[in-house]
Amino acid sequence: MIKRQLKEIVKKEMLIMLRDKQTILLLFFMPLALIFFMTLAYKGVYADKIYEKQIPTVIENESKTPKANLLEQKIQSNKLIKRVELPPSFDKDRIFEQGKAQVLVIIPKGFEEGTKPVEIYFDPVFDTGYKVAVRSLMTSLTVEVVMSIENIDAVVASLITEKTKKDMDVPSPIQLAVPAYAIFAMFFIAIPMSIGFLKEKNNGTLQRLFTYSVSSNAIALGKIIPYYIINIIQFVLMLFVGVFIAPYILNTPFQTGTHVWHLIPITLVVAAATTGFGVLIATLAKTLEQTSTLAATGAILMGVLGGIMVPYFVMSHTMQKLAMISPIYWAHQSYLDVFLRNAELSTILPKLAILLFFALACFYIAGRRVKWM
């Protein structure tokens, strides 16, 4: 009897959810769009080589010696550099104002004797990664010219070589974006979940349910199970798109790692955490406006802290410490353990334990606070 009632409540919740176009957009299309756009946006940041970008650079050769000319030639012919002509009213202090150049290189007289160094100026808003790349490039080229080395990269290659473990190549941005925005969207389940609960409270359908011999446990479970299932479907769909569709559209590979089955326990636990968050919001909010605000603000804040909005490795040391209070951080790191680090389950389990604790805490508080009428 209870099983049949529970099944019917689950079916009813599913029908209501799937007939709401806004919910479908929020839960499925928003993360898909984010995955595509953020992958494109971060393509350069996550890559191991600077590519698909040429840095507009002004080269001022004040020396005009053969070595200075050779250095000028080497700089302007490098793939990373796009030489731009000096503006007519050249003022090196104001060169970046119009946004036409991001780097200024001055080759002074006497640079080859070491009396005056090559000067590099950067646009103040220039990305740190590119700064490091340009600095490194200028160092290599200057050393080549000054020490008359044909190709310093070849010399260095015989001394240092970068290796990665088998199946652990450098991550593509999509490998970070897929779990990140899947988790983010899973936390957004709190919005339809809490709105649905409040609507039923306000229009009296919940009260009507209690005039039948239905237990509150069946009603609670019936409201939780569909959202838990939808959360799992969300992740599976995002993973499917990440593995089979996005690589062809974005020309970016996706590796699932060698322990792909570890995704099952992770997704089950992450879905429990996200559903728990939804239940908590449903019991905390008193109005429909409050549900949206609390759920969206909560999810976005956890996303910012957890390394979804701003990549974890870009964060300051303090923020990286703070990230640990966000369940999204633990969820994201668990997925990255599988996709990028090929971690054993024993490595992932402590993270899952934290997520499970978060889920249980949410359910416990919600259970204490719930007011059915």
């Binding site: 029908l15 209501i16 359908t205 009507r208 005039t211 011999s213």
Partner: protein, 247 residues
Amino acid sequence: MKALEISGISFSYHSPAEKLTSGGIEYALHNFSMSVEQGKIHALLGPNGAGKTTLMKIITGVLRGYSGEVFVLGNKMPDNTALTCIGCAPQAISLYMPLTALENLHFFGVMANLSDEQINERSDYVLAQTGLTDHAKKLVSTYSGGMQRRLNLAVALLHSPKLLLLDEPTVGVDPQSRHHIYETLKILNASGMTVLLSTHIMEEAARLCSSVTLLDRGEIIFDGLMSAIDNLERFFLEKTGRGLRDD
């Protein structure tokens, strides 16, 4: 055996701690007793905040923590067996708007533990009774206010209750739908169903009900036959006063 028997019910929405700090108990219902004979339509009248909806919630077992006793068809409430004998149409349209009428009926049918065959058979019957057969597969959100109100009643009738509780069943509906609801209630009553009708429409109570309970501020102020009252609206105002109620 009476359809409904209530004796000495007292209920307060304040928690025990609030009662202690406020220094006094504000009752939604206080030492309230009434009974309804089987096969009658009984009116429950009172101004806003009188305690009518609270009483309905206590009868259906939605509210607990009261003192006193409630018996439905001889069963002391709360009781799961007795609950299956009660049909309740709340004041609010308590339906799932994104579902069709048939989906709503199937859902509440399962909640009432009816078999699928019973649900199909009874759905056809209650939809016909409420004039919604042609709209059974439409989403409730597309219904007019009157149609929603009729479906609200249809859901309450689905499991063939012996006692029907109606909380302002005609509020906000057009005269046609209201007339249809009245006719439906008369037919149901003629078949032996007991109805407890809470309403603010005096004409409705006078037209349909054979007995009446008048309550105010949680206490009973009249309980008797409708035939004993000459003009119900005037009687109501005399008993409850003409001052506005803002609580």
